[in-house]
């Protein structure tokens, strides 16, 4: 098994490729990702469109060393592994591939079996991220998931044998879930993780996203969610239990054995560059005339058409000011337990952190125990991370 160090080197954020696959077998009621349920997928058009859009962006970012590729969705395990393979090969051709390149695919239990896993592995995928969501069948039903706990278990056990690195997602702070129920569930999850040498866990608190079916039910008071204090208690317990089991939090919702952090997602949080292809994909690129945010057309059919016609489906390419970059860097970087390197901040934005924040307010936040300054880094403490929106709002208040 390759161990990949999450480069603590503040001179490098890495460079990644995100590929968005917009289809799922069914739509989960809580989910506001760009995912759709369709009768038929024309696999070959997707194959061609990805390759075209990839070369469009590659032409603008020559000579970079690619450190990660992430197939996200939607449910990219529904993709033809041949397409996955073709995209990986093309990326290796366009850019120089890092020796330790991380290639992740998101999978939904129930859409994959051992054979399919093997095909993705052969295609070049070396990390699998699985949406398990819950270890409780009733709650899986509430979450609108089509798989059982047992199916998920079979899937992650199979995956663990095939992929060097496996991660799985759980959603907690669910309706009717109290602290002790979550602790029991998390204990079981950590045991499975240990038994199968799974090295990474994403633990998300259930969020009501605008426009989803679940948010509408919630607004109608069809169910209630744990209150702020009990959600806070569950978060705290999560930090403790995972750390004790050897999976400390490296980001608000992400835990890993040291060195097993998701390299690709680290690019986002450290403010690095990434190309985003596929419908609705976002990217951040440093071009000759400055930093830009890219966003591709969201509707899958429209994106396909546009790529076929013009070679890319960019909906918007927005120049990012140094201030906007700085804000993003603080927003993202303070999510990490490593915090934001002052030197990285200055290199990427041309500004000092001090010049962007309200210094007096920051001093107070430090005194109150929400913020720390350590070894040239600005770090949100665990309680600061849990209230990060408010902490940022205060720091950036003029």
């Amino acid at each position: 098994m390759t161990i990949i160090t999450a480069a603590a080197d503040p001179r490098d954020e890495g460079f990644g490729l995100y590929v968005h696959w917009p289809f799922c077998v069914s739509k989960c009621p809580y989910c506001d990702f760009n995912s759709h349920v369709v009768e038929r997928i024309e696999q070959s058009s997707w194959h061609d469109a990805y390759l075209r859009e990839l070369s469009y962006f590659a032409a603008q970012t020559p000579d970079r060393v690619i450190t990660s590729i992430f197939f996200g969705g939607g449910t990219p395990s529904l993709m033809d592994p041949k397409t996955t393979h073709a995209v990986i090969e093309a990326a290796r051709k366009h850019w120089v591939a890092d020796a330790n390149i991380e290639i992740t695919l998101e999978a939904n239990p129930g859409t994959v079996d051992a054979d399919r896993f093997a095909a993705f592995r052969t295609a070049g995928v070396n990390r699998l991220s699985m949406g398990v969501q819950s270890l409780n069948d009733n709650d899986l039903r509430f979450l609108g998931r089509k798989h059982s706990v047992e199916e998920a278990r079979r899937a992650w056990r199979a995956a663990a044998k095939i992929f060097p690195r496996v991660s799985f997602d759980l959603i907690y702070a669910r309706p009717n879930q109290d602290l002790s129920a979550w602790k029991t569930e998390l204990r079981e999850a950590l045991r499975e993780v240990g038994d199968n040498s799974i090295s990474h866990l994403s633990l998300y608190q259930l969020t009501m996203e605008d426009g989803t079916a679940m948010a509408a039910d919630y607004a109608r008071k069809a169910f209630t969610l744990p209150g702020e204090d009990s959600a806070g208690d569950m978060f705290d317990a999560t930090q403790e239990m995972c750390a004790a089991a050897g999976f400390p939090a490296y980001e608000i919702s992400n835990h890993a054995a040291p060195g097993q952090e998701c390299r690709h997602n680290m690019i986002y949080w450290r403010g690095g560059d990434y190309v985003g292809i596929g419908p609705g994909a976002h990217g951040r690129l440093t071009l000759n005339d400055g930093a830009v945010a890219t966003r591709q057309i969201k509707a899958p059919a429209l994106w396909l058409k546009r790529v076929a016609a013009e070679g890319h489906g960019t909906q918007e390419q927005e120049a990012l000011s140094d201030t906007a970059r700085g804000e993003e860097l603080l927003m993202m970087g303070l999510r990490l337990s490593e915090g934001v390197h002052a030197s990285r901040f200055q290199r990427l934005t041309g500004k000092t952190i001090d010049s962007m924040v309200n210094v007096a307010v920051c001093a107070r936040l430090i005194e109150q125990g929400f913020l720390q300054q350590q070894n040239g880094r600005w770090i949100a403490t665990p309680s600061g991370r849990l209230a990060l929106n408010e902490v940022l709002r205060q720091m950036l208040a003029t």
């Binding site: 204090d229 990434y274 609705g280 976002h282 966003r295 990060l388 709002r393």
Partner: protein, 600 residues
């Protein structure tokens, strides 16, 4: 050309919601003043706030042309008025502009407190009154009983009262016939010296100042030079005309007619409702009697959330005041809030509406401080101070006497709710003056301190009587009172904008209620916030807002970055609607909301 005998000017008056604006719709429709496709419900309620709240706030005028059964064509000038007590000044000005009133009474509800208040005003203005029994389409309607009630309670002849349904369009022809046959035509001297009453005015972003006038004598022509008699300001008439309700230009306005004048009036301050407009060259000798000034009863501070908007607020107040002469303002400064204005209103709804109009029409963000009535304080030195703001209260040891305003309140309520209503009045320190029956309903008259009814009395009354009680009041005078100032401290700092006066016996329970309300209204912060009520240095109530624990996005990946940045901007916007006291952000809405007492 319409001679005076073919003009009828009338106000539509009623208790709130008895259907004035709906009746106006039918009259407008029947006279064909508005194309069918442009018709909508309560057409004259043209402001967004009026349509959202379903109430009339501003009186509105329309000229209608009606061909009557006698074969003649009449010019009808209709004024639709508001029903709520807080807008009574609109009614009194409308009444002065015409000779008759349609008294609309909901035939399913009967006479209510505001029916009485408005009809007495109309009688005082020497109006002919035609009672209209509205809503006869309702199963609960009992026009005969209500007709009798009008005679018994109000004491006017209701034998010719016209039954109608404004909603269903029944009896509308009969209402129109009653207008031309029962109401008198205006009088006036076309050849006489010019006299016109300035009834209303407003600021239009395209047209500038627009004034509404009622011509008494003489003719005002387009291009004429006119003079405001109160300050001798002169202007020449650019445009003149009337409303259908669309603006229609004419060459002139004649005696008896109502209409608008636009005269490039630069100084908003030149326009005073009630003023007399005359000819600059041949001015009238005496002005018209004008209006009694309105007396504000509730005061509060209005401050811009963003201090740099102070000048904008000043201009906006001047423009709004043009359209609402019943509110008053003067500058004030507060330790915590900086520069702003102390404003006087006719009631709490009035205050809410003014605040909302300022925010909407002038794009301001305002903080409203706790409302207060006017107390009279006599100091050791023998001085008498009128105190509009509890923050101005001298130290208790320098005070020899505090007096508070009392009102006479009239409440009409069905018998079954009388017990709870009387209890409410007693809880509010009321003294019963009279209790009589009007059919199955009781009419209770109480003396009550104004500060007991100003904030939430009306809401409470409505809720304990399932909406059936109605209420009206008038100021009576001042009485000695054992009052104390309750200060509110948030995170150990006094927030003067929240301090209030109350009777000593109620200080503790009100202090506790307000702390509880503030606990709900102030969002959690990163730290614990104590909220205390105190008299002098003595804390009488305390609550704690616990510290915020969780406020974070669970997931934040590539696509979420932009979204997250926008969210942060939105939160910054939200923060703009807060005001900082020490390190605590208090939402601007909390200042009034804190005073709304929960139901008990």
């Amino acid at each position: 050309m319409t001679d005076l005998s073919h003009i009828r000017n009338f106000s539509i008056i009623a208790h709130i919601d008895h259907g004035k604006s709906t009746l106006a719709d039918r009259l407008i429709q029947r006279c064909g003043a508005v194309a069918e496709r442009d018709m909508k419900e309560q057409l004259l309620d043209s402001m967004d706030i009026e349509r959202e709240r379903g109430i009339t706030i501003k009186a509105q005028t329309v000229r209608l042309t009606y061909k009557a059964k006698d074969g003649k064509t009449y010019q009808l000038n209709l004024l639709d008025t508001p029903g709520h007590v807080d807008f009574a000044y609109e009614v009194s000005r409308s009444l002065a502009a015409c000779e008759g009133s349609l008294l609309v009474v909901d035939a399913s509800q009967g006479v209510e407190a505001q029916t009485l208040a408005n009809v007495y005003q109309a009688i005082e203005a020497h109006h002919e009154i035609v009672p209209v029994l509205n809503k006869i389409d309702l199963p609960a309607a009992d026009p005969e009983r209500v007709r009798q009630q009008i005679e018994d309670v109000i004491g006017i002849d209701a034998s010719d009262a016209v039954p109608c349904s404004a909603k269903a369009g029944l009896g509308i022809d009969e209402v129109l016939e009653a207008i031309v046959t029962k109401l008198p035509p205006p009088t006036g001297d076309q050849g006489g010296l010019n006299k016109a009453l300035l009834v209303d005015s407003w600021y239009d972003t395209y047209l500038g100042v627009v004034i509404l006038v009622r011509i008494k004598d003489g003719v005002i022509k387009k291009g004429a030079k006119i003079k405001f008699m109160s300050n001798n300001a002169t202007y020449s008439v650019d445009r003149i005309g009337y409303f259908t309700p669309k603006m229609v230009d004419t060459q002139d306005l004649k005696p008896g007619e109502l209409g608008f004048i636009i005269a490039n009036i630069k100084s908003v301050a030149d326009c005073k409702v009630g003023d007399t407009i005359t000819d600059d060259v041949k001015p009238a000798a005496e002005p018209l009697p004008g209006f009694k000034p309105s007396i504000p009863v509730v005061f509060c501070g209005l401050f811009p959330t963003d201090a740099s908007q102070f000048e904008l607020l000043r201009e906006s107040l001047a423009k709004l005041r043009l359209n609402d002469s019943s509110f008053h303002y003067q500058t004030e400064s507060s330790a915590a809030l900086g520069f702003g204005f102390r404003c006087g209103f006719l009631g709490l709804l009035h205050m809410e509406i003014v605040q909302e109009r300022l925010e909407r029409e002038f794009d301001l963000d305002l903080i409203t401080t706790a409302p207060s009535v006017v107390y009279r304080i006599t100091t050791q030195k023998g001085e008498m101070i009128e105190m509009h703001n509890p923050a101005d209260m001298p130290e208790p040891n320098l005070i020899t006497k505090i007096e508070e305003p009392w009102v006479k309140a009239t409440i009409l309520v069905p018998d079954e709710f009388l017990g709870t209503v009387l209890k409410l009045c007693n809880d509010r320190r009321g003294e019963q003056a009279d209790l009589t029956y009007v059919g199955s309903r009781a009419m209770a008259v109480y003396h009550i301190p104004l500060n007991e009814i100003v904030f939430d009395f009306y809401d409470r009354l409505k809720s304990i009587s399932s909406g059936y009680a109605s209420f009206d009041y008038e100021l009576e005078g001042y009485r000695d009172a054992d009052l104390v100032k309750v200060s509110i401290m948030v995170n150990a700092e006094v927030v003067d904008a929240l301090s209030f006066m109350c009777h000593r016996s109620q200080a503790e329970s009100r202090g506790r209620q307000i702390c509880e309300r503030l606990k709900e209204l102030i969002p959690r912060h990163l730290f614990k916030i104590p909220v205390q009520a105190a008299i002098g240095g003595k804390v009488i109530a305390r609550e704690t807002i616990s510290a915020m624990r969780k406020d974070v996005l669970a997931k934040c990946y590539g696509g979420d970055i932009t979204r997250k940045r926008k969210l942060l901007d939105k939160q910054k916007e939200g923060k703009k609607r807060m005001r900082q006291f020490g390190s605590v952000d208090i939402p601007q809405s909390a200042f009034i909301a804190a005073l709304r007492m929960p139901e008990n």
